[in-house]
Symmetry: C2
Subunit: 346 residues, 2 copies
C-alpha cells in the first residue's frame, strides 16, 4: 500500500503542501537548495500562526549565516526598462561568478497581482540560470508587512549563499522608501531626456540615490542621454553630502548593447569597498535594523487594532474625526491605544 498522502493526514485546515520541520528548512536553505529556499520564503509569507512561529525559528537560525552580500535596491518608473536592465545586468553578475537573487517589493500588490507575475516571467534567461533565484513580490498586507517579508527573504537568500541581492520596486511611488531602508546601495534608473519621465516618481527619491543609471542610451538616444547625465550630475552636486562621503555617480547604459553595464558593476564594487573601508557599510545596516525594530513595533500595534473588528471600527471613527479636525491626532492615538489595551470604557 502506498504511504498516505500527508496532505490528507493534515486535515482540512491545511490546504498547502506538507510543512517541513524547522531543521529541514534550515538545512535545505543553508545547503543552497532553491526549492527549499522557495518553500521557506513561502512560509514567511503565510498568515497562519503555526507557520509564522515556524518561520521565525527558521529565520532566527539563518541569521548568523546571513549578511554576506551586497544588497542593491533598483527603482525607476514603468517604461524605464527595469526588467531588461536586471536581466542584462544579472547576466553580468553571473559571469563575474556571483550568485544572484532578484526580489521584488510592491506594497500595492493586492491590486495588481497578475501584472507582477506577468512581469516576472519576462526575465526569461535569468530564471533558467543555476546561480540566479527570482522571486515575485509578496502579495497583500500592509507596507510594514510587505517590508518584513522582503527583509526576511533577503536573510534566507543570503543564508542560501546568494551574495548579490537585487530588490526592485514594482509599481510607482510606493516601495522606494521601504527599499531604500533595507539595501546597501540604491540605484535609480532614468530615461534619457531629463525631466519628463520624472512624472509619477515620488519626490525625494533622487537624493536617496547612491547611483543613477540612464537606460536606453543607444540608437539615436546618445545625445539626449549625455545631456540628461550632465543635468543629473549638476543636480546631485547641489545635494548635501551624506555622512559617509560617497558621491552618487551617473552612468550611461544600454541593456541592448550591454554598454555601461561593466561601469555599473565597477561602481557597485567600488561602493562596497569604500563603505566597508570607512565603516559606514556596517553603520548603515545597523541603523536600518534599529529603524525596522522601532517601525515594526508601531506596525504591530496597528495590526493588532485592525485584527479586532470592534477596534477597527473604532479606529475608522477616530480617523474620520481626525480628518474632520474635531479630534487631534495625538488624542486619537491615545484613545486608540487605550481601547486596544484595556477594551472600551463604559
Amino acid at each position: 500500500m502506498p504511504p498516505l498522502n500527508p496532505r490528507l493526514l493534515s486535515g482540512g485546515l491545511d490546504r498547502g503542501p506538507r510543512r517541513k520541520s524547522a531543521a529541514e528548512y534550515i538545512e535545505g536553505v543553508l545547503a543552497g537548495n532553491r526549492v527549499i529556499l522557495s518553500q521557506a520564503i513561502t512560509l514567511t509569507e503565510s498568515t497562519r500562526p503555526e507557520d509564522q512561529k515556524l518561520a521565525s525559528e527558521v529565520i532566527h537560525s539563518c541569521l548568523p549565516h546571513a549578511g554576506k552580500s551586497l544588497r542593491i535596491g533598483i527603482t525607476g518608473i514603468p517604461g524605464v526598462g527595469k526588467s531588461t536592465f536586471i536581466e542584462s545586468f544579472g547576466q553580468l553578475l553571473l559571469e563575474k561568478g556571483h550568485r544572484l537573487s532578484v526580489l521584488a517589493i510592491d506594497p500595492s500588490s493586492e491590486r495588481s497581482k497578475g501584472s507582477i507575475l506577468g512581469d516576472k516571467t519576462r526575465m526569461e534567461s535569468l530564471t533558467r540560470e543555476e546561480n540566479a533565484y527570482i522571486r515575485p513580490s509578496p502579495s497583500g498586507g500592509s507596507p510594514g508587512g510587505v517590508a518584513r517579508k522582503t527583509r526576511e527573504s533577503i536573510i534566507l537568500c543570503e543564508a542560501a549563499g546568494f551574495d548579490r541581492i537585487l530588490v526592485e520596486t514594482v509599481g510607482v511611488g510606493q516601495g522606494e522608501t521601504i527599499v531604500h531602508s533595507m539595501v546597501d546601495f540604491f540605484l535609480l534608473l532614468m530615461l534619457p531626456g531629463a525631466g519628463d519621465e520624472l512624472q509619477g516618481m515620488k519626490r525625494g527619491i533622487m537624493e536617496m540615490a547612491d547611483g543613477i543609471a540612464i537606460t536606453k542610451s543607444d540608437f539615436g538616444n546618445e545625445k539626449r542621454a549625455k545631456i540628461a547625465a550632465a543635468d543629473y550630475r549638476r543636480a546631485l552636486e547641489l545635494f548635501p553630502p551624506a555622512d559617509h562621503k560617497w558621491k552618487a555617480q551617473v552612468l550611461l547604459t544600454s541593456a541592448m548593447t550591454s554598454m555601461g553595464l561593466e561601469d555599473v558593476y565597477s561602481l557597485l564594487e567600488n561602493f562596497y569597498e569604500f563603505m566597508q573601508g570607512n565603516g559606514h557599510f556596517e553603520k548603515r545596516r545597523k541603523g536600518q535594523a534599529v529603524y525596522w525594530m522601532n517601525e515594526y513595533l508601531g506596525e504591530l500595534v496597528r495590526q493588532k487594532i485592525l485584527e479586532n473588528p470592534e477596534s477597527r471600527k473604532y479606529r475608522n471613527e477616530l480617523r474620520e474625526q481626525v480628518t474632520e479636525g474635531s479630534l487631534s491626532p495625538f488624542e486619537a492615538a491615545d484613545m486608540l491605544l487605550r481601547h486596544a489595551l484595556e477594551g472600551p470604557e463604559d
Copy 2:
C-alpha cells in the same frame, strides 16, 4: 488679612503656579490673551498626568476654532540668517495686518537649551509687537513628543487668532522632516554660493521645499546669489512634480535691505490660493493628521516601554542583539510588544 497664597494651598507636589480651570484656559486663549496662551502651551508641555489631562481638554475645545491660518515651516543651516529673516519678514506680515506666531522645534533641545533661549531673544523687535507671539522650542522628550507639543502649540495659537504661524527648525538635520509634516508651506533658506553651505543639511530637504529664499543677496553678494538661484532652479526642475502641481520658486532676499521680502509674501499668498483652489490644501492637512495619528501610536508604545525600567532594559538588550545581527528587527519588535503587554514570560 490678605488671601492665602494659592501656591501654599496646593501642597508640596505642585511647584508651578496655580493651574486654571479648563474653562479659564479656553476662554483666555479664544480671547487672544497672550499670557493665558503662554500658560496653556506650558500646560501642554508638562509631563504631570493631571496637567496632561487638563491640556487635552483645552486642546479639544480649541480644535474647532483652529486651522484658519497658513502654517509656514522655515529651515536652513546655522549662519543662513534664519532669525534675521524671521524678524524682517515677520515685520512685513504685521504691516500686512496679520497676527503672527513664531514657534521653534528642536528635537535635540535637551542638549542645547541655553543657546536656543539665547537665539530667541535676538528677535528683539518682534517680541515687542502686540500682534506677534514668539515661543521657544519645547525642551526634552522624544522627537514624537516634541512634534506633539509643537502641533498642539499651533492649534492653541490659531485658536487665539494668529493667522500666520512660522515654525522654524533649530539645530541641524533634525527637525526638518517633522516640521515638513505639520506645515502647509515649507520654506528653505539658502546662502548665496550654492553647494558649500549644504554641508550638514539633511538629504532630501531640497525636494521637500515649496520655496527657496536665498538670504543675504546684498552688498557684493548679488552675483553669487543669482548664480545660486539659477542652479537651484535647474535642480528643482529635475524633481518630479508633486500631485498638487505647485512648482517651488527660488527668490533672492535680503533681510538688511528688505529686498525680496514682498516677493516671499506674494509667493506664500499665491501658494495659499493655489492650493485652496485645487483642494490640496485640505488634502495635505488631512494627510498630515492621519500620519500623526499613526505615527504617534507607535510613539506611545515606545514611550510605554521606556517608562518601565524593566521593559527599557529588555529593549536595550534586544536592540543590542538586533545591531549585532543575532536577532531580526521584526522578531525583536514582536518580543518587545509581547513583553510590554503581558509582562516577561517565565
